[in-house]
């Protein structure tokens, strides 16, 4: 376990040194603030748009559909293909730590970064709400936010597990980035053309939190979709590890 702890700490340090994560954190904080100011200024012109009690959920929709997936692609590209192309992956492989723990450490650091991004987003949107003079939320609203953000976190984790596996087939970060963006965009568009595609695509679960907020969704549907996302995480973490274990550096 000491080696796993060391590897996780190292991954956090490397994320800090690389700056990508920090930049994403800063932008994640700034965007809702700018949106609040923009909505306030435009309210007199457009009338309808405003910062209200659903602002944290609306921003979550934008972040889980576009912003966090972009963060995932960039970070995964740095964690795997970039380390292969710059031959820095061997720097941890040559230490007394198993490949399973190295892979787990990388994914853990990624999971913590996603959680931090979502936490920041929730905190900032709530503050923006307060600053915009929106009516105070009830306890039920708060519970709904936590549920929605947790569901958003799980769907992002499933995407992270899937693309971490995909990244094992690439030796350059640019190749992986191009491929993953194309695949993700295609998976987002496909449901408009292929009936039933969304039921089997993790990319369609980025707005999965909506189910958790609805009072009309049957608990059975919630359970099956939860199992689908959780099994996706387990499956792609396992596949990713298997590919990572077999990788020759």
């Amino acid at each position: 376990m000491a080696s796993l702890r060391a590897a996780i700490r190292n991954e956090f340090c490397l994320m800090y040194y690389r700056k990508t994560t920090l930049i994403f954190m800063v932008v994640s904080v700034v965007v809702p603030i700018l949106a609040t100011f923009a909505f306030r200024s435009l309210k007199s012109v457009l009338g309808i748009i405003s910062v209200n009690s659903s602002f944290p959920i609306e921003m979550l929709g934008v972040y889980t559909a576009i912003w966090i997936p972009i963060f995932l692609f960039l970070t995964i590209a740095e964690l795997f293909p970039h380390e292969v192309s710059t031959r820095t992956l061997k720097l941890s492989l040559l230490r007394p730590i198993t490949r399973f723990r190295i892979y787990l450490a990388k994914l853990s650091a990624l999971a913590v970064a996603i959680a931090a991004l979502l936490f920041l987003l929730l905190a900032v949107t709530l503050i923006c709400n307060a600053l915009a003079g929106s009516v105070g939320q009830s306890l039920a609203d708060w519970f709904g936010f936590v549920k929605a953000y947790f569901a958003g976190f799980l769907s992002m984790l499933a995407l992270a597990a899937f693309f971490s596996w995909v990244s094992q087939f690439f030796r350059s970060s640019s190749g992986f980035l191009t491929f993953s963006i194309v695949i993700y965009a295609a998976a987002k568009i496909a449901p408009y053309f292929v009936k039933g595609f969304s039921a089997f695509s993790l990319a369609s679960y980025t707005d999965w939190y909506v189910l958790w907020l609805s009072n009309t969704v049957a608990s059975g549907r919630l359970l099956t979709s939860s199992l689908f996302v959780l099994s996706g995480i387990v499956l792609f973490v396992s596949l990713g590890y298997l590919s990572f274990e077999r990788r020759e550096v």
Binding site: A6, T86, K90, L94, R95
Partner: protein, 253 residues
């Protein structure tokens, strides 16, 4: 006494047919073992196999009596390595990079990082970003990372590449000191035949993926020839053996 390194019938073939074949090798405590051979002979492949970077097709590798395939963490616990080229996270500085290394060795003293940088002559550049380092400086840093965890076995692949004369002398003195004072075992793959002649007590010659000759330097050079003369003779014999069909061609460059 149990050997520090025990390799038996090790084989690995790449798609281009190069690799290593049936290598059997044992290193004892305190050995400074030099691995010689032409480009593409299989020296780096052997080191990569020993450290689990690539998997063998057959054969076994044990470090300190522990199999690399089955007990990787305990086998690598007392090993320091520098394999292929000196590559780093270029956005870190030397101290931060060595801190990343040190985390895997909980018993390492705090002051060990600065002491190691001092030993390799990098202490004036301790807080400089690695991307501004010259090839020689990177090589020194890789050497520092290899010896930092106080290893009992050090595997070095072309350690003097890019080093200036002062760096080479420093490297030689370091290997001698660590070997004589602390009994550290070294396996050094290099083209610097004169360096190896001065440093090593045992030599192995790899040709076409096979270990064609190995033994104590004193025994091999009993006829008074230099290591270079001996190496050239062995190389010529190996080439003859290939043309006679006694040795499989590893297609060395």
């Amino acid at each position: 006494m149990e050997p520090i390194v025990a390799i038996a019938d090790l084989s690995k073939a790449y798609r281009n047919n190069r690799g290593v074949r049936n290598i059997t090798l044992e290193l004892r405590r305190g050995d400074v073992y030099g691995l010689l051979g032409p480009n593409g002979a299989g020296k780096t492949t052997l080191l990569k196999l020993m450290t689990g970077l690539i998997r063998p097709d057959s054969g076994s590798i044990a470090l300190f009596g522990r199999s690399i395939g089955e007990s990787f963490e305990s086998a690598m616990n007392k090993v320091g390595c520098m394999i292929e080229s000196a590559d780093f996270y270029e956005y870190t500085n030397a101290v931060d990079y060595l801190k990343l290394v040190a985390r895997f060795y909980p018993n390492l003293r705090r002051e060990a990082i600065m002491q190691t940088l001092e030993q390799v002559g990098l202490s004036p550049y301790a807080h400089e970003k690695i991307k501004f380092f010259s090839t020689g400086m990177k090589q020194k840093l890789a050497l520092a990372a290899a010896v930092l965890p106080d290893p009992e076995l050090v595997l070095l692949d072309e350690p003097t590449n890019g080093l200036d004369i002062e760096g080479i002398v420093l490297f030689r003195e370091m290997v001698r000191r660590l070997s004589s004072e602390r009994g550290i075992t070294f396996l050094i793959s290099s083209h610097m035949i004169h360096e190896l002649e001065q440093l090593c007590n045992r030599i192995g010659i790899v040709f076409g993926g096979e270990l064609v000759q190995e033994g104590e330097v004193a025994d091999l050079l009993r006829d008074g020839s230099t290591l270079e003369q001996f190496y050239i003779r062995q190389l010529a014999r190996s080439k003859e053996a290939i043309s006679d069909g006694q040795l499989t061609s590893g297609n060395p460059q």
